[in-house]
């Protein structure tokens, strides 16, 4: 087994706080919500398990000094295909789950247009999502949501893919602390106050 400290990306003499922090960071990164039922969900789950095990190993090693509070991680039940036992599309869901995307597409296309319901569009979207055909995926998820607005599975998938659409993925970059427009204004105000102490005045309004 890999060294648990390597898994968390820390040196062996890291403090307890560093370990907790690293674990939380990684748990957030591999969070199941981000990967939904996309093509990489399996790997994300494996990674999650790895850091869980590493964290547990470290706790065992360090003994009771370590408060064992793990980040709450969703169990992934929301996305578990098997939950939907009364689905008519169970075989297609199983096909997608096992990664046979081309087969799933053929099966889906075999269903006549008149019989296509919200779930059909959702599954079609999933297939496209896995292939990387993102525009088609968005379109199909959208249709599924329109046909069945109350289904949490469909709306989660749509939200997931739409998250990055507005460029939001960039905000989660680690350690991305820039200077906001608020910071600029408040710094300017401070500078002006200092200036006025010495008789100068850079802003006439205040």
């Amino acid at each position: 087994m890999q060294n648990p400290y390597d898994v968390l990306g820390l040196p062996e003499n890291a403090t307890d706080d560093q370990i907790k922090h690293a674990y939380k960071e990684l748990a957030r990164k591999y969070n199941d919500d981000n990967y939904g039922d996309g093509p990489l969900s399996g790997i994300a789950q494996e990674k999650m398990q790895e850091i869980d095990e590493a964290y547990d190993a470290i706790i065992l090693n360090r003994g009771s000094s370590f408060g064992s509070e793990k980040a709450q991680t969703p169990s992934g039940d929301n996305y578990n295909f098997n939950k939907h036992s009364r689905s008519e599309y169970n075989d297609i869901r199983a096909t997608i789950q096992s990664g046979r995307i081309d087969d799933a597409q053929t099966l889906l296309d075999g269903i006549p247009p008149a019989m296509r319901n919200a779930e059909w569009y959702y599954l079609k979207g999933t297939v496209h999502h896995r292939r990387g055909w993102l525009e088609e995926a968005v379109k199909n998820y959208q249709t599924a949501c329109n046909m069945d607005p109350n289904n949490s599975e469909y709306s989660a998938a749509l939200n997931n893919i739409n998250n990055s659409r507005s460029g939001e993925y960039r905000t989660e970059k680690s350690g991305n602390s820039g200077c906001s427009s608020c910071d600029i204004c408040s710094s300017l105000l401070c500078a002006d106050c200092c200036c006025e102490c010495f008789g100068g005045n850079s802003m006439f309004c205040c």
Binding site: P39, L40, I43, A44, E135, S164, G167, Y169
Partner: protein, 289 residues
Amino acid sequence: MLGYIKAYKPELKVKDYEIYKGIYCSLCKKLGKRYSPFAQLFLSYDFTFLLLLKMSLSSECPAFKNNRCHYNPLVKCKTCAGEDDNLNICADTVIIMAYYKIIDNIYDCGLFKKIAMLFVFPVIALMHKKAKRLSPEVEETIALSMKEQKSTETNENCGIDMAAEPTAKALSAIITIGEHDERKIIVLKRLGYLLGRWVYIMDAVDDLEDDIKNNCFNPLKNKFNDVYLNQQEDEFCEYAQQILNTTAGEAVLAFKLLGINRFRDILENILYDGLAMTANEVINKRKKV
């Protein structure tokens, strides 16, 4: 590939910038040595990213040594010391891509450019022969994607997803060459696919106006036929921004799962900031026109 995948320098640390430049110079030097000084002209930042990613995954850290630039002997540059498989594969990829690009241009471009290309062609064909011998895998991948691209372009209801597929698949295949870890291959495939797709869409957005004027193929043309009349300008810019964002966002998701050994800051800079900045640049350029 046209130099769309590049770092956003203002956000790069100086040490990372040095490495980034060093990798660029290494590839440039390699092209000069393995092929000819002429080959160096085809280098772009996309290949720097490719090499950077491959090196970030390898177990050995590259060592740098001081050198002088051939094109500007007054400038010192750092290049990788020793032989490196990744470096060789990337150099071959540069040549093979350039070769197909030139063939493409000979068919597509106007008369003046066509003649210029015909002068270049024998030289690049010679280099391509060598690249084909050295990296048959890369050659096969790109040749196949070119063929697929031709056939998708004749398809009447070809949307942006379908049109981007050949390029995406090609990069997906090239990016995984030399990787043996099964899990990493899955992640790399996805990352490569999405980046290839991103580059293709970027190119389509960049060229839309010219393509409408010259009646060339462009997957966005069906949807935005009036762009050069400025009718749908805003709608087009927003749409372009959205598809590029979605693709980049998915690529970032894949990248997060990739266990890399080094260069994290540079790669994150490229994927989080670089892609978005390039997209903004191209889209804002349109707005001004």
